[in-house]
Amino acid sequence: MIPAAQPQKSVDLGDLKIDHSSRRSLFTIAMTILASACMLLTLIPLIAVLTYVFLQGFRRFNLPLLTQLPPPPGLTEGGIANAILGTLIVVGIAAIISVPFGVLAAVFLAEFGKGNPLARWVRFATNVLSGVPSIVAGVFAYGLLVKTGLTGYSAIAGGVALSVLMLPTIIRTTDEALQIVPKEVRMASVGLGASNYQTILKIVLPAAVPSIITGVTLAIARAAGETAPLIFTALNSSFWPGGVLEPISSLSVLVYNFATVPYEPQKQLAWAGALILVLMVLMTSIAARLATRQKTY
């Protein structure tokens, strides 16, 4: 039942060619130029900051910078090793607090929070918390731990302040990551005789791990650069970290302090500290990229 061949109708195919003067093409060109210009404009401050910090900080870059204590005012040499270590410790404490709480809270939201009014409030509170200025988190830790004398000015107080800042990011990214895991995969696991908890722990959480790591590193990167909440919790110190209950030095507070003193060596250290801070944030971001290269869903 093949239809009889019909005489070919001639079709005008002239409109297949690109016409650069058509309104559509002109609009496309204009929008491309506009978008590119905006992209360049936003890149300028970013590149300017990075190059300036790099040029300024790089002059002072040497081994003692990473291994020695800052010099007393007026003297040269020395390094900022205590501040580097301090930042790692304070951020580490913050991560130890916020990662388990944040991930488990997100598990509750994503897995048990359907239609649960409590979950709606937790989500709302998380969103509010993510907009809270960092100094408020500092005041909170100050009031909770320093003022009451529970820990005094200490690495722990600083860590608690930073963990408050990290929590919303971790909860939100984990919550989203868990919800992306398809319903069918949960059903498959449950259909094989796994309990809800086995399904969450063995299938859903592992599938979400790359995205959770991204969230955690983002949170860490943000927390590492915070100054305000540390000034009146972790305080500062010119010595090696003496324990989690002692005041502790950190890169951001060191930069804040040294950038404003009249001594040139200290100013140089401040630049070097800023550079190291930027490098640390850069490295965590790259690490996050590597960890999330293979997305599961």
């Binding site: 398809p182 059903m187 498959a188 449950v190 005789g193 063995k202 299938i203 592992p206 869903y297």
Partner: protein, 269 residues
């Protein structure tokens, strides 16, 4: 449960649905279903899209419990136990009644761990390596994956993933196997392999398969249930119902309902 099974007679049914209505929220999805699924046979569910075949299938191992707003009226029994009774543990139900899904859905784990997952959560105590191998062999996948058991399940093609899902399900050794369009992502060769597998399995297992492929239903099944959907009073509402349930040969040669005749001969709608 074991006691009960041993006292059963020859005319037993494995799964029985008695006047089942299923709701999603306030929408009635399926109404008035009566079914007696015979043991160690293949029962096919056929019918147009949206008539509730998957919905009924998921009720048989309580997977619908995971869906918000799901509600069931009537009774579904498994060896005379009401599956929706208060004292029934849905987790154990699913160990007896396994499911293969419409879409391939491997876990984000290695091929080996995909198959070993079910036995592991069920505290399997035998030789896991052997079980994984025999399950993969029966799902006609072993030869293609035996050298890369450590690779991620996602590295397989869609059809291979589906056979992995089948291997995963039979590794738990359920008594009843629910298969929701298991071959919709497979090429004809793999489809035939799966059909062979089903015929092998039915010596021990009871199988229910949903399929849109009439030839497949005619080829493999002993019993066939034809479902259809009708418009409800509400705007745009549709509710599925069972039109006819009989031996496959009867359904395909001399069905008692005209709608069945139209559907199996492709003259539908």
């Amino acid at each position: 449960m074991t006691q009960q099974i041993s006292t059963m007679t020859a005319t037993e049914t494995v799964i029985q649905a008695e006047n089942v209505n299923i709701y999603y929220g306030s929408n009635l999805a399926v109404r008035n279903v009566f079914l007696d699924i015979p043991p160690r046979q293949i029962t096919a569910f056929i019918g147009p899209s949206g008539c509730g075949k998957s919905t009924i299938l998921r009720c048989f191992n309580r997977l619908n419990d995971l869906i918000e707003g799901f509600r069931l009226q009537g009774r579904i029994t498994y060896h005379n136990h009401n599956l929706y009774a208060k004292d029934i543990d849905p987790v154990s139900v699913r160990r007896h009644i396994g499911m293969v899904f419409q879409k391939p859905n491997p876990f984000p784990k290695t091929i080996y761990d995909n198959v070993a997952y079910g036995p592991r959560v069920n505290n399997y105590e035998g030789n896991l390596d052997e079980l994984v191998e025999s399950s993969l062999r029966r799902a006609a996948l072993w030869d293609e994956v035996k050298d890369k058991l450590g690779e991620n399940g996602f590295s397989l093609s869609g059809g291979q993933q589906q056979r992995l899902s089948i291997a995963r399900t039979i590794a738990v050794d359920p008594e009843v196997l629910l298969m929701d369009e298991p071959c919709s992502a497979l090429d004809p060769i793999a489809t035939l392999k799966i059909e062979e597998l089903m015929k092998d399995l039915k010596e021990k297992y009871t199988i229910i398969i949903v399929t849109h492929n009439m030839q497949q239903a005619a080829r493999v099944s002993d019993m066939t249930a034809f479902f259809n959907a009708e418009a409800t009073a509400e705007q745009g509402g549709k509710v599925g119902y069972l039109v006819e349930f009989d031996e496959t040969t009867k359904i395909f040669t001399q069905p008692s309902q005209e709608a069945t005749q139209d559907y199996v001969s492709g003259r539908f709608g």
